[in-house]
């Protein structure tokens, strides 16, 4: 199973998207962004199944919340896609 990480500028925004999508099936977790990905120190991201990417992006868009970056997590590590 592959996962995406969507990084937000604040835990408030990350949590807002998580809450909006919490009643939909599929795994969405709010977590500290892995240190290796952090450019500015601590931040928060949502980790979700690859088929959830469009739902996360549209929820952020509809709520005027910027996704700072998106990473694909696989066995080799993280690959930045946005």
């Amino acid at each position: 199973m592959k996962y995406y990480l969507a990084v937000f500028s604040s835990i408030t925004f990350a949590n807002k998207i998580k809450k909006l999508l919490s009643d939909r099936p599929g795994f969405i977790a709010l977590m500290h962004t892995p240190s290796v990905l952090n450019e500015n120190g601590c931040s928060y991201c949502l980790r979700f199944r690859e088929d959830k990417l469009s739902e996360v992006k549209s929820a952020a868009y509809e709520n005027n919340i910027k996704i700072k970056s998106i990473y694909l997590e696989d066995s080799s590590g993280y690959k930045k896609i946005k």
Binding site: S9, S10, I11, T12, H32, N40
Partner: protein, 375 residues
């Protein structure tokens, strides 16, 4: 004990408030500082408090509610986050020291103080006439903490908007009593512990999206740790350090209580109590009331004096002889007393809450009458 000092803080809280505080105290974690379950649980409770506040103020941006220890902090955040040296600000003679002292702490600030009429009502056109090219902010107390008069903030909002000037509302005496549409105002400062029935140590500032306040408190926000500056986004930008999580859980329960009861019902009930008082006080000899008879023009307070008695003496008599708690003196708003003509005696303020009863008001009226006859 009859508690009629609710404009300072409401003494009696809904039982849900105590329960919410206790529940969080029993199992709490630092919100927004980790992503483990307990931290997120506390974080979500804080966010739900913002959501309840957003419902109360009719806006759809919970994250724009900055949580503070009280309204004074909120006013300081707004005033010092907007104004800078050589700016011009318009305020009124009815403001509390929580507005006046931050203003006078800013160097070279030009301050215009619009004076209220004999009851302290501000004429909106007087605000308009005070506007200058350098006016950066208008600050107005929605309701006086001295005599309860409510200002026409909708009209003042239209004036401010037409000139493109920011408007800060001090809703210390109205949040929870009077419906306030947050969409009409740039910033609203409010306490959590008065008519929102939260615990002391809670308050907040609503900031509209168009405003980027400078910070006056910096520190840990749980984000952007490598940066030497606070992050740009609300609410973290203005919420450095650990929040009063149990307190804001209590505030959420208090706001939910207000939403459930309805501000119209709360206000109507409190006005019934104030009208009972008015009808009796205005018929007593030797007694002067400094609030208008029409309680629709008031929040939850009125002010009076008995003959030439110092207000502190009247309050002490009510307390010592009759176990009635009221507030004398100058209420941290001396210019308001200059406006009302009570700068020598101060005034006795009675402020009611949703938990006061008609029987308590009847007893208070009897006791005031006895004191007025004893002089």
């Amino acid at each position: 004990m009859i508690y009629l000092d609710n404009a300072a803080t409401t003494s009696r809280k809904p039982y849900q408030v105590t329960e919410a505080v206790m529940e969080e105290l029993y199992e709490s974690a630092n919100p927004g500082r980790a992503s483990h379950k307990l931290s997120l649980k506390s974080f979500n409770k804080i966010y739900e408090a913002r959501e309840s506040l957003a419902r109360l103020f009719k806006v759809n941006t919970p994250e724009n509610f900055i949580l503070t220890p009280n309204a004074t902090y909120a006013l300081n955040f707004a005033i010092k986050g907007i104004l800078k040296n050589n700016d011009h600000v318009i305020t009124t003679s009815m403001e509390h020291n929580s507005v006046l002292r931050p203003l006078y702490s800013i160097n070279n600030l030009s301050i215009s103080t619009v004076r209220g009429n004999n009851f302290g009502f501000i004429e909106p056109t007087d605000i308009k006439n005070a506007i200058r090219p350098t006016t950066a902010l208008i600050i107005i107390n929605h309701s006086s903490n001295v005599n309860g008069v409510v200002q026409n903030i909708d009209e003042i909002s239209k004036i401010a908007a037409s000139y493109g000037i920011l408007l800060l509302i001090d809703a210390s005496q109205t949040a929870g009593i009077i419906d306030i549409d947050g969409n009409k105002f740039d910033m609203i400062a409010f306490p959590g512990h008065k008519s929102l029935y939260g615990p002391q140590g809670t308050g907040g500032l609503y900031v509209s999206n168009k405003i980027k306040l400078r910070t006056i408190i910096e520190g840990g926000t749980g984000s952007n740790s490598k940066s030497r500056f606070n992050p740009p986004d609300f609410p973290e930008r203005l919420e450095s350090g650990t929040l009063n999580t149990p307190g804001f859980c209590g505030l959420k329960a208090g706001v939910d209580f207000v939403l459930e009861e309805g501000t119209d019902n709360i206000r109507n009930y409190e006005h019934r109590l104030l009208t009972m008082l008015m009808d009796s006080l205005l018929n007593m000899e030797n007694l002067k009331v400094y609030s208008p008879y029409n309680t629709e023009l008031l929040s939850n307070s009125l002010a009076f004096n008995i003959d030439k008695l110092d207000s502190a003496v009247v309050a002490a008599e009510l307390d010592e002889k009759y176990n009635i708690c009221v507030r004398p003196g100058f209420h941290c708003a001396y210019p308001a007393h200059l406006t009302l003509g009570t700068e020598n005696q101060g005034a006795v303020r009675i402020s009611v809450s949703y938990f006061n009863t008609p029987e308590e008001i009847r007893k208070t009226i009897d006791c005031i009458y006895k004191i007025s006859k004893e002089i």
